[in-house]
Amino acid sequence: MRQITMREALNEALHEEMERDESTVLFGEDVAKFGGINKVTQGLYEKYGAPRVYDTPIAEATIVGAAVGMAITGHARPIPELQFGDFASIAFDEIFNKMGKWRFMHGGQMEMPITLRLPVGIAGGAGPEHSQSPQALFMHGPGLQIVVPSTPYDAKGLLKTSIRDNNAVLFFEHKLLYDMKGDVPEEEYLIPFGKADIKREGEDLTIIATALQVQTSLEAAEELSNQGVEAEVIDPRTLAPLDMETILNSVRKTGRVLIVHEESKTGGSGAEIAAQIQEEALFDLEAPIKRIGSPDVPIAQSIHLEQFYRPNAQQIINAVNEIIDVPV
């Protein structure tokens, strides 16, 4: 099968969906002529031009607020981008209260077909306000769907689904995955929300991971396999809706769980997943659930210190060994 990068996969999804639906409108800072600071929106301005593709002022609250206003008319399907997912903080009211609640608050009379693209993650010394992974904040907000792809294949299929969906989507892209290559078929496909993917099968324990940490976990799983431990690696792909069924089936099989994400540990998405596992399958567990996240402190700008935030394969291996060592 052909291999393309996640950046190319996302770009293809945008091209295909903008071609398919004339009500799509893509906007954000430097997304038009420049093709986006991460070059994900390249070629769209040349093809569709303004007003369907345009550069906005640097005003994140207005970008998201305007997307809501467009969406609820029923005439537009906005695909806004924030240059860094961290800037969701600037548009917090517009995301948390408006995108998430406007429809419900007004008795369900309007739709919210917005896909807000949010590049996240620690990537090369960008500092405390350009490196975060704020996904979990929004799990607490009703009315928001949260998509977190880990491969080019998933990125393309999930982005297409997001754009077609009539409800609000926060689409988180880990910046270190943009250059990652993977199989992506030429033919069209969609990936449904709420369907986790088992990235690797195994009998001994379940690793639940998102974004870049899916790749790190797969790397660790290979190494563990050499030691005779077979890990099952599950990528939920969407944190909301969350596919607990796939996760619980795996947990019931292995009895041991490690959750890995780059989000900081306290209050990260792993906290919610762990809580739900124990609610449903406590007596299937043979060891306490472990979580790995980045430290609960702001992300230092220094590249030297940055390495101490992003979970690595060795940490995963060590944690797995601790879990495995718990006697039955």
């Binding site: 550069d55 961290d86 500092g127 306000e129 230092a300 220094s302 590249i303 030297h304 210190l305």
Partner: protein, 334 residues
Amino acid sequence: MAEIYQRDVNLEDYDPDLLIELYKTMVKIRSFDENLIRLMQEGKVSGFYHSGIGSEGLSAGSITKLLRDEDYIYYNHRGCNQKIAKGVPLSKIYGDFLGTIEGTTKGLGAGIVHSADPSRGVLGQAGTIGSQLSLAVGSAFASQMKGTDQVTIVYFGDGAASRETMHGSLNWAKLYNLPVIYICENNEYAISCHVSETHGVKAHIADWSEGYGIPNCVVDGNDVLLMHEVTKEAIERAKKGRGPTFIEAQTFRHRGHFEGDPYDYIDKAVLQDWKDNRDPIKNFKKQLINSGLTTEDHLINLGKQVEEEILQAIEIAENAPMPERNRIYEGLFA
């Protein structure tokens, strides 16, 4: 509409020490920047850097010998121009880029934003550009409340001016008559977007402040003496309790938005014109020599001294150790 600030400036009217200091500050800023880019090319510093080359006059003019240590600044995210003019030790700024414990952040690393030196009134900066506009009115409010004559200058780009915080800040500044000076470093571009593509204005960004009744003007930010004059007037106004001023300073960046930016979205001829005819250092040097105040040789010597000072600062910063891993757990709370 905003006044275009013009004054007849005669070098004879100025203290020669001030003139030399202005020149030296600009040269220091540029040399700092060029050496930082070298460190980046050597792989010692992360590439998240927005060079401030081409806009040194704006910072030297508005700070040097005008602001005291107790006056506050919020610098912008382009170069280290204002931090250097405000006197933050060069080794400390380099330390923040290199991530050694010499930095103001003692090893956390700061890049362009997040260096701070409260002892010199440098209160830090946001990674979210334009957020400093809200903080600035708070700092000015605190000075007013305490009854001091401190002023706060907030620097920001044309792009940052389009943040919602701009308007919240202007409203407060006027409403509470705050001793705050807005200096908009208008280099015409915000990454790839020309100011005309992203700003709804009468003619100038400064016109926005007119709507709030704030005295304002547009000035050639690459004319260091004009910058000095216009800021001096604004500082006097603030100190006399007459409130805020908005200064839009025109300039242009010589390099791309970040190191590695192809910078192919601008008109090459326009850039060349700014480099050839509107370089703040080149022009001021000519003025100084033509006035007979100094000689080319003297200025070359001065440049060498500055370079020496820069290299020493880099050596201090590079020789300091990297922090231990547990540095990241220190300093979250007082």
